[in-house]
């Protein structure tokens, strides 16, 4: 049976063989999504996650089981991302990777799958733009809570603990964020308009 996160973290602290590898495999994708939410850049997000894992490993003895291990890991990651954003503000230079990404035809493009039609791909791209636009319009705290819950799959109590705010604040922020995303999608993408709205 798979060890739960607390047991796994305890094994990491004790230095059990393979425990840290399991933790990395279990958390890496969720942390990547959170990092993308902060940094909006694939390469930077991957770097931030790797650095967060280095910090997690080095600081494993300071972990206290009062917080869920993912909550603790996500705070380490958030601090890393915030540092990076601050650096960007001091020197807002575009990295070569980023420049490559934003210039059409320069970067390595993902190969389209043969089963997918050009129309489906275009629709998917459009949906991604609309969704990213919707998430980007959220105020920072609402966005953070939404990302932690929707993509980080954290429980609301854990989010409240991680962000140091009341559970009620998390609930209301999540509600506002979800409603704002729904409104944004309904405004910008006809596919998301309710039949109710169309008939009126």
């Amino acid at each position: 049976m798979e060890a739960d996160d607390f047991t796994l973290m305890e094994q990491v602290r004790r230095g059990s063989p393979g425990a840290f590898e399991t933790l990395v495999e279990r958390y890496q994708r969720r942390l990547y999504r959170l990092a993308c939410g902060y940094l909006h850049n694939h390469e930077d997000a991957l770097d931030a996650v790797q650095e967060a894992f280095v910090k997690i490993y080095l600081a494993r003895q300071s972990y206290r089981p009062s917080a869920h291990p993912f909550t603790w890991a996500s705070r380490i990651l958030a601090n890393r991302c915030i540092d990076q954003i601050r650096h960007r503000r001091v020197r807002p230079e575009q990295s070569l990777d980023e420049a490559q990404e934003t210039r059409p035809g320069r970067g390595p493009l993902p190969l389209p799958s043969s089963e997918e039609s050009a129309q489906t791909r275009q629709e998917r791209r459009e949906l991604r733009c609309v969704l990213q636009g919707a998430i980007d319009t959220l105020p920072p705290r609402q966005r953070e809570i939404f990302m932690l819950r929707h993509f980080g799959e954290m429980r609301l109590e854990e989010i409240a603990k991680a962000l140091g705010c009341a559970l009620g604040t998390v609930k209301s922020s999540l509600h506002r964020a979800a409603a704002a995303i729904r409104d944004h999608l309904a405004r910008t993408d006809p596919a998301f308009r309710s039949p109710k709205g169309e008939s009126s």
Binding site: I56, Y57, H175, A186, K196
Partner: protein
């Protein structure tokens, strides 16, 4: 509805709300629309590049990097000791160090200054230079030293990466294909050196340099964590990273720029 969607309602509340949604057509439609919007926000849609990542390789690299960072820890014992010093004492030590640096600077280390302790400029004689100019020259010297140190670090790292990218030496031991003993040892030395420069590099506040140093650190840690005899796959992955991130080109650009700036300061 958002709390229902995210499963954050207590069972009684949830059951009550679901009953209402079943019986009220308008709220039922609203719920369907709400659910459709949030269901659309899947990780595959919002983070399409997540699928491009080889996550098992990423996990291996993260573990190797973490282990290498811990192995390099004794080199940072000095830094840990520094953290243990109380803040006022740190200021006092810094001030003393700056004063010593300025005195050394004014007594012959400055280019063009006369050796043997004679001051280089005539106006820095009897009463000594004003405090502001002392601090400015100390800061300029610190900045110049940090840039020179970083440029040297980047040049040495580049040499290691060029070795990795070039034709590799075959390994004599069984189980591996390429002998990277030298590159591995050099990477370890460079990582130790980077720990010493870290403070100075941070002071430069150069986003491009710090990004490059971070990515370089990641590659060096991976090299340091490999066995003496590496497999073709490991070498291929490292080469791919160096190539994809254009690390060699960026080292050239940043080093040239820093050396240019160092001459201006």
């Amino acid at each position: 509805m958002s709390l229902l969607y995210y499963g954050a309602l207590v069972p009684e509340e949830e059951a009550g709300l679901l009953r209402h949604l079943d019986s009220c057509r308008s709220c039922g439609l609203e719920w369907d629309e709400f659910r459709r919007c949030l269901d659309a926000a899947t990780p595959e849609t919002v983070f399409p590049r997540e699928a491009e990542v080889d996550w098992s390789e990423f996990a291996r690299a993260a573990v190797a990097r973490a282990r290498a960072a811990e192995a390099a820890r004794p080199a940072t014992a000095v830094a840990a000791g520094w953290v243990a010093v109380p803040v006022p004492a740190r200021f006092a030590l810094l001030a003393a160090a700056a004063l010593v640096a300025v005195l050394l600077w004014n007594t012959g280390l400055r280019p063009g200054g006369e050796p043997g302790g004679a001051p280089a400029s005539p106006d820095s004689g009897v009463g000594g230079p004003p405090l502001v100019s002392l601090l400015e020259s100390a800061h300029a010297m610190q900045d110049r030293l940090a840039r020179r140190g970083a440029a040297r670090y980047l040049r040495d790292s580049r040499a290691v990466l060029v070795n990795l990218v070039g034709p590799a030496a075959p390994c004599r031991k069984a189980g591996g294909q390429y002998d990277i003993t030298l590159e591995k040892e050099k990477s370890r030395q460079l990582l130790r050196r980077m720990n010493l420069y870290e403070g100075g590099l941070g002071a430069l506040e150069d986003q491009r340099l710090s990004t490059l140093v971070r990515q370089l650190e990641s590659v060096l840690m991976q090299v340091a964590a490999l066995d003496d005899c590496a497999s073709a796959r490991q070498i291929h992955d490292l080469r791919e990273q160096i190539e994809t991130r254009q690390i060699l080109l960026r080292i050239d650009l940043v080093t040239r720029e820093m050396e240019g700036r160092a001459d201006v300061v």
